[in-house]
Amino acid sequence: MTAWTDHLVAAPILVPMFAGALMILAGDRWRGAVVALGLASTVTLVGLAVVLLGMADAPEVRVYRKGDWPAAFGIVLVHDRLSALMLALVAVLGLAAFVASLARWDRAGTHFHPLFQFQLMGLNGAFLTGDLFNLFVFFEVMLAASYGLALHGSGTARVRAGLHYLIVNLVASLLFLIGVSVVYGISGTLSMADLAARMRDVAEADRALLETGLAVMGIAFLIKAAVWPLGFWLPGTYAAAAAPAAAILSILSKVGVYAVLRVWLLLFGDEGGASAGFGGTVLLAAGLLTIAFGSIAVLAAQSLPRMAGASVLVSSGTLLAAVGTGQAAVTGGALLYLASSVLALGALFLLIELVERGREVGADVLAVTREAFGSGEEEDDLREPEAVGVAIPAMVAVLGLSFIACTLLLAGLPPLSGFLAKFAIMAPLLGPAGALVPTASWVLIAALVLSGLATVVAMVRTGIDIFWASPLAVPRVSLLEIAPVGLLLALCAGLTVAAGPVMDYTLAAASALHAPSPYVEGVLGPIASRPELRP
């Protein structure tokens, strides 16, 4: 028998599942009902997320056994700190994007709302499941919905980008399948925990094959995480997507990162036996390269949407590189960074569309060329300054401040959480006093600082041009659209103030990830992690 509270773990998947199904029945005719459903679902998810965060902050993991079959061969949902954190991010981002969509975007085409719910369902499922193949299925749910959202509203640009997005992800899914089946063929299990327990006693003759399968699977994850050179599809797709869609998509790339965090640390972490640390250097290198490429792309971006897309690359790279260093403390910092950057990117994607509304097309390119010839240089400094300033309309001011906030968050400048997050990654990289700092850490620190610099330069250039040089016509923005941005940014501010408890949480989550035997035991029961005792 299971207590009703146990069902809470499954709820984040079930709520959007049913909401979406009902929405299809309601169809587009009863928009009111659909919206009400959507609101109920997203708000419920936020509530659930809070509860689950609370429940998660405990040493043991919670296991929900689908179909009441033992974890050994049934599908289980595993709810630990990491998944609770991801669920919370999805919930918040979901609420924000949903509300923002109500202003206009949800009517840009049919079926926005059910697809949106399925998107949430897929994300939550991916973050909760403890079974590799089930992870694949939820990846597919998530992707199928994301295809719909990315293409929502149709139009040449979206379809063009969507085609790439679709094909690339189909290939990734095939790789995932190959990987999973190899894992089953060699280890005979699909449950992550069981696999982790079996890692040690895989026959030496077979280990290479198992690692092959996992490597192929890893490529699939890295494609989703948009690592260089597998992530060229991302900026275009996100830039083309409708604002709320882009906002929710911005967490999709983090699913790839999550998968790496979960699977890689579980199987190849310090307890991975003979395979421990497999591919760690690859992760680190890939992460660093991604940071580099992302920063370049941020600088080179000719429009805000592309710049935002490029920043997604930067954050993915940062996370993977941090994980690749294989230190629990660094991972803890990375988790804070994850939260901060997801919220910031969501806000940015929602914001961009509002800003773009107020300006003429191609202004960016124009500005850059203007800069290329050095604006203002020709006018001498003796010109009496117009001693009267130009008042900035309230709405533009709000947009401007939000833009500044996003810049600070993404560049890792004070006072918002971005700064603390980078600090939380860098400080452990340097380690305690007296400890020798490996070169990799230096490189990563340099990469973090420089990427921040690139972001500042690029976004200040663009921001000045948008808000100062060519004062934008006050865009017509409804509260529905600006409030979500405010919400997300407010949360970042909250992260800054409550950084202490948050860090305690993320550090606990990280150390659990790096020492997974409690996870394994929690899922399979005590004996599982001690191979010699297994039947």
Binding site: H7, A10, M17, F18, A21, G27, K66, D68, A72, G74, R107, T110, H111, P114, M121, G122, T129, V137, A145, G148, S154, I167, V171, A172, V182, G185, G188, T189, L190, E204, A205, A208, T212, V216, L230, F293, I296, S375, G376, E377, D381, L382, E384, P385, A387, V388, G389, V390, L408, L413, P414, F423, A424, A427, V457, R461, A469, G500, D504, L507
Partner: protein, 984 residues
């Protein structure tokens, strides 16, 4: 605890004030100024309230846990030095606010201005009373941010925008360096707390990472205090309103740099590296700044460069590694603040009253504004270092240091001369400021008629000038104690003896001052002609335009180079991306094997059966054939694809997997139909022999792809062989086989797995199908055929018009047309019910025998498709009213509802009815819940498949109606009545 409150309020009040001010109406300048000034004054009071503690050598502390896990606390710490600076920041802040109230025009949106000013003040206070280094970097970047906003306050002028951008870019860069630097410092010390760091001087200097930390921190400090070669941003920051300039140049932004140098002086200084970097930077800046200042034609420009030069002086003093030099530096920080602020304000007044700051146009203002003239005169004299004024004292100290500096490097023997040169220059530019603006004939063509400013506007200048005089005449009595506690808090007990007397008797420094004064006057007289000529910029250095270089580099690095690099390292085309993916996948797999080879499998390979081999000979040929023909002969490729698929089906049957065979078969049929429907919309592509099309591939590219394909195929083949020939010790599967019937209640284990053991996968899977169907539908509603594929395909055109057209357009009356395709038509109509029965059969027996919801759904879908193909769209829909959305929605709800039902019985989601019912099950339809689950799947599959197929089919109906290149009208684009359920 009062001191906690005090410190916290000191930092928090300005920010709170800033928030409050922003809420004021756009032109409420009295309210804004009043609030700002009030807050500045309160802060000043707070600082003063701390005096007793500080003067007794005590330190005020306040600490709050921030991120204990990382040893980061929010800690405030105010010792003498911090106290002095806090006083400077808040005191001058108050004066600046008062001044700004009268300087800013009535129409100016001043609340924004005062809000930024307050926030900036708060940030600056934060810097000086930060108790730990990370937090110091935190506030440091905030000063960069708010100074950026202040400089760009008049954002409509290009100068303001460029100045702001440059200032931010440089100071923020420095800030990031500083951040990294303090991280390293913290790593060396093991704590970020200032107390701990200051106590660990020797450890730091000896540590291997000392050079790194030093370099990074100095990068931060020197950029902030505009030291050569980072000095050029400061003059452009003049684009800010004059009150801001006065504040930034005198007490705050640039002083933050020297503040940091002095703050960390005890732990970082004393090494050759420190001396080399800081000393030489200071020396160069000192001379260059002073030299350039002489030739500025803009009052503010002149002052800006003099600021640079004076900061160079302070930096140089700090670089000399001597306690006395430090004292001189701190002293000069104060003096410079006093006279520079007053001078900027004076320049502002001139600008405000006359409308220009151009020395060449100004003259004789002492007639129209005598009082301001006197004030400016005194302040300028202080800057020039005339005796009985504060500037003189610190300059004397500097001379003394310059003479006594015992430096490891010979080059510092030039110090005394450098000092005199600097002093002479400063005399010259001070003279120019005064003489140029105030003496001479009454100016003719000024934008405005000059007159004395409002008394309140002059008040701050008066106060500051009084300070200059007071300190100059009675240093010991006025500034003495403050200076003392400041240096004491830095140096601790080993404060050297220094005297603040005006008169030290005839000594070398005095002589130097006299020479410098004379030299300065002389220099000014000599330069008269050139200065009057009004040539822009200074000789020698004018070619080197810092800003121009900066802009060029920025554009090159951050734009051109970046674009090029992105082009090289990235792509927006699909094919390269896919190549990379395949390549990396192959490499990843290969590497894993290569790193640790693998042994032989534990299963013997079973003998080859010729029949299956033959099947695959055909299948393989089909696959390759498909690859070969896909470009020019799409239909052929499609058929060949089917061939390969068939081979797969046979293989499934062969290896006793009937379920797979069934599903694969049905899926294949549907997929083929879909593709056939799609073919019609693709462009014609006919193979012209010898025609080299626009994107004909070069031989090498083809070979590369071929190689990749072979590698991928071979790799997968090898992998599969390796996996097939080994079986792991224990498989999940054995559980399923054991429990399949006894607990799962079905003999068809595969189906039991799908709907029970791993029902969650299936549940997810049907949501995938649903989402995809919705997406496809939504896209097709916006479908626009390409112009060249709108007209009826020739096959139809050639055929007998009316009836042939019906085949595609499917107009109802075509059926009355009679004999056309009569036989197949009748057949399918007969087959239809039969197929439905088959479907139901598959569905019901699914749990025990091959079949199940999915294949059943597919069969029904196929049945209906047949009707469409033969009967034509409209005819079918006249007789068969489908509501795909209804099917989909119901299917999803039924399936997930069944799964949810378990919760009602206190079981987890998806627990099947059978699984917990103790009653023995015999015959009938044993497992109620799984069957319902399967029915849900069935409904969904039918709905989804039809939704896509029919939506596609309708395109060809629409194709003729839709006008090319324009979105079809909603009426046409909505495949009514078929999907009425979905249309809005």
């Amino acid at each position: 605890m009062p001191e906690t409150v005090l410190l916290l309020a000191l930092v928090a009040l300005p920010f709170a004030g800033a928030l409050a001010v922003t809420l004021l109406p756009t032109h409420a300048r009295n309210a804004a100024a009043g609030l700002a000034g009030g807050i500045a004054l309160v802060c000043l009071m707070l600082v003063w309230a701390a005096y007793p503690t500080v003067s007794a050598g005590g330190v005020l502390r306040a600490e709050f846990a921030w991120i204990p896990a990382l040893g980061l606390n929010f800690s405030l710490r105010m010792d003498g030095f911090a106290w002095l600076f806090a006083g400077l920041v808040t005191g001058i802040g108050a004066l600046v606010v008062l001044y700004a109230r009268y300087y800013m025009a009535a129409e100016d949106p001043v609340p924004r201005f005062f809000a930024f000013l307050l926030a900036f003040m708060g940030a600056m206070t934060g810097v000086v009373i930060s108790g730990n280094l990370i937090q110091l970097a935190f506030f440091w970047e905030l000063t960069s941010l708010f100074s950026f906003l202040l400089i760009g306050y008049w954002q409509h002028t290009a100068a303001a925008r460029d100045g702001a951008r440059m200032a931010l870019t440089i100071t923020a860069t420095g800030g990031l360096a500083l951040f990294a630097g303090v991280l390293v410092l913290g790593h060396i010390v093991g704590s970020y707390e200032l107390d701990a760091v200051l106590a660990a001087g020797d450890r730091i200097r000896e540590h291997a990472l000392y050079p790194v930390a030093l370099a990074l921190i100095l990068l931060g400090a020197l950029t902030k205090s505009a030291q050569f070669p980072f000095h050029f941003w400061l003059p452009h920051a003049m684009a800010a309103p004059t009150p801001v300039s006065a504040y930034l140049h005198s007490a705050t932004l640039v002083k933050a740099g020297v503040f940091l140098l002095a703050r960390l002086w005890p732990v970082l200084s004393g090494t050759d590296a420190w001396f080399l970097i800081v000393g030489s930077a200071g020396l160069v800046t000192l001379l260059v700044g002073a030299y350039v200042a002489i030739f500025q034609n803009d009052l503010k420009g002149l002052l800006a460069y003099s600021t640079i030069s004076h900061l160079g002086l302070i930096t140089l003093l700090l670089g000399l590694n001597s306690e006395l030099a430090l004292v001189a530096a701190v002293f000069h920080i104060l003096n410079h603040a006093a006279f520079k602020c007053s001078l900027f304000m004076a320049a502002g007044i001139i600008d405000h009253e006359t409308g220009t700051r151009d020395i060449r146009r100004l003259s004789g203002l002492n007639r129209s504004m005598p009082f301001t003239a006197r004030l400016a005169l005194v302040a300028a004299a202080a800057m020039a270092g005339v005796p009985l004024l504060n500037g003189f004292l610190s300059k004397e100290m500097f001379f003394a240091e310059a003479l006594s500096a015992d430096t490891p490097f010979g080059l510092m023997n030039v110090l005394p001369f450098a000092a005199m040169l600097f002093s002479a220059f400063s005399v010259a530019y001070s003279l120019r400021f005064i003489h140029g603006a105030f003496s001479g004939p009454v100016p003719a063509d000024l934008p405005r008629e000059p007159h004395e400013p409002a008394g309140w506007m002059r008040l701050p200048v008066e106060i500051l000038v009084l300070i200059c005089i007071g300190v100059g005449v009675l240093p010991a009595a006025t500034i003495g104690p403050f200076l003392d506690i400041a240096v004491r808090s830095i140096l601790g007990d080993d404060v050297p003896y220094y005297s603040l007397a005006v008169w030290h008797g005839f000594n070398l420094p005095l002589l130097m001052s006299i020479i410098a004064l004379a030299g300065g006057v002389l220099l000014y007289l000599l330069l008269q002609r050139r200065l009057r000529s009004g040539i822009e910029g200074e000789p020698l250095l004018r070619r080197i335009e810092g800003q121009r270089i900066f802009e060029r580099t920025m554009v090159f690095l951050s734009w051109r180079l970046a674009r090029r690099a992105e082009g090289l390292a990235g792509t927006r085309r699909l094919q390269p991306q896919l190549r990379l993916i395949v390549l990396l996948a192959v490499l990843a797999a290969g590497a894993a094997v290569w790193l640790r080879g693998f042994g032989p499998g534990n299963l013997p390979a079973s003998p080859v059966d010729p029949v299956l081999a033959l099947v695959w000979l055909v299948g393989g040929t089909c696959a390759i054939g498909a690859a070969w023909t896909a470009k020019f002969h799409r239909l052929a490729a499609l058929i060949l694809l089917g061939g390969a698929g068939l081979a797969v089906v046979i293989t499934f049957v062969w290896f006793s997997a009937p379920d797979l065979a069934l599903t694969q078969l049905t899926v294949e049929v549907v997929t083929t139909v879909l593709l056939l429907l799609g073919l019609r919309w693709l462009p014609k592509r006919v193979q012209v022999p010898g025609d080299r099309g626009p994107e004909v591939l070069t031989r090498t590219r083809r070979l590369r792809d071929l190689g990749l394909a072979v590698a991928a195929g071979g790799g997968l083949a090898a992998l599969s062989y390796a996996v097939m020939t080994r079986v792991p010790p224990e498989l999940l599967a054995q559980h399923f086989l054991q429990r399949g019937y006894t607990e799962g209640g079905g003999t068809n284990v595969v189906n039991v797995i799908l709907v029970d053991f791993r029902g969650f996968d299936t549940l997810g899977e049907i949501f995938v199908v649903a989402a995809v169907a919705l997406t496809a539908y939504a896209l097709l509603r916006r479908f626009r055929p390409a112009p060249d594929s709108v007209e009826v395909p020739e096959q139809q055109a050639h055929a007998d018009g009316a009836t042939a057209g019906a085949a595609v357009t499917g107009r109802g009356e075509a059926r009355e047309g009679g004999d056309w395709l009569l036989v197949p038509f009748t057949l399918t109509r007969l087959v239809f019910p039969a197929m439905l029965i088959v479907a139901v059969f598959l569905l019901l027996r699914g749990h025990d025998l091959p079949g199940g919801g999915f294949s059943a759904g597919m069969v029904v879908a196929i049945a209906i498709i047949l009707q469409y193909i033969i009967g034509g769209t409209d005819w079918t829909e006249d007789r068969l009213r489908l509501r795909p959305h209804l099917w989909i929605g119901t299917g999803l709800l039924v399936a997930s509802g069944t799964a949810l039902a378990a919760l009602a019985f206190g079981r987890p989601f998806l627990t099947t009815y059978f699984a917990y019912a103790e009653l023995p099950v015999i015959g009938k339809v044993p497992t109620a819940s799984t069957l319902v689950f399967d029915i849900g799947i069935f409904a969904l599959v039918v709905g989804a498949t039809l939704l896509m197929l029919v939506a596609l089919a309708h395109q060809s109906v629409r194709g003729h109606r839709a006008t090319p290149r324009r979105p079809a009208a909603p009426a046409a684009s909505a495949p009514a009545p078929l999907v009425a359920a979905g249309d809005g």
